[in-house]
Amino acid sequence: MTVSEKIVSDLVANDVQFATTVPCKQLGTVIDLIEENKSIHHVPCNKEDEGMGLAAGAWMGGKRPCIIMQNTAIGVTVNTLVTLTQYYRMPLPMLISYRGELGEPVACQVEMAVHTKGLLEQLKIPAFHFHNPDDVGELDDILKYTFMCNKPVAILTDASFWQGY
């Protein structure tokens, strides 16, 4: 089973039935598998805060949501995370491509990477960093933890985890 297959398998096993995504090269296979999967309703969004609104609605409508995005989105969504997801106490697993780490070819990505963990810490968002492919073994527990505590939770997946770009 590839890491992408394992990720989608864990989402399904944890009853995640709604996924909203923005495009990402590293998470592309996961997004494709979600699109193909009949038990997950996939709604691509145009911006990550819009996606968090969709996810909040899906949660209140009875479906466990997740969002798939890049770490730049943490900068975009601070207000939404604080005044919607956290303020109303809603669970939201955030599967994040952690651009700007070792192996990164695009210098500008590093500029947001250096702020990513600091922002998550400031927002008191639990964050888990997947660096080795084996780290995917924690995803099942992270999803259970997210829906136990009703918080947004970040899963940062870097280039080493994905074995390069």
Partner: protein, 184 residues
């Protein structure tokens, strides 16, 4: 008619429907006029009423009405293509378009100038887009509910505000009772 009068005229139509209401004065007005478990009041996050409502509609079968404003739709303009391409026939987006940012003091929006949200929604691919005058809003909304087709209503009205108290209800209470109303 100003927005508060439009909302007042809509109360009988909105009763017992699931309503996601825009941040600021629209939520405060609806809360004052007809507070119900079936109302979800946005206390923060300008622009996401349409997205939250669409999410609720896609996740379950009951009719959902998002009450939004022209300024808020402009803030989250990407919502209209998402709505158009993810058709939920139990979803209605009601944009109360007074051409101004009411909650911040009636500064003009571009929707009150050259930009037509009706045409924008159509250009985004929304199929049932109805522009109406404030006086016709209850009838147009009731027809949209009865049609069981996803509908975007752009209700034109005058700008202006009444004094209403802020919502002091805890957000978790708002969410919890809304979720129970959905599940019931």
């Amino acid at each position: 008619m100003i927005r508060s009068e439009v909302i007042k005229s809509l109360v009988p139509v909105l009763a017992d429907q699931l309503v996601v209401c825009n941040i600021g004065l629209p939520s405060q007005e609806l809360h004052l006029l007809d507070d119900r478990d079936t109302n979800f009041y946005m206390l923060g996050t300008m622009g996401l009423s349409s997205s939250i409502g669409l999410g609720v509609a896609l996740a379950q079968d009951k009719t959902v009405i998002s009450i939004d404003g022209d300024g808020s739709v402009l803030t989250n303009l990407g919502t209209l293509p998402t709505i158009a391409n993810n058709v939920a026939d139990n979803y209605i987006l009601l944009i109360i378009d007074n051409g101004s940012y009411g909650s911040t003091g009636d500064q003009p929006t571009y929707a009150g100038k050259k930009t037509s949200l009706t045409k924008v929604a159509e250009a985004c691919g929304c199929e049932n887009v109805i522009e109406c005058q404030a006086e016709d809003a209850p009838e147009v909304l009731q027809k949209a509910i009865d049609s069981k087709k996803m509908t975007v209503i752009v209700c034109k009205c005058e700008s202006g505000n009444i004094k209403v108290p802020v919502i002091t209800m805890d957000p978790v209470v708002i969410k919890d009772r809304f979720m129970k109303a959905i599940a019931s």
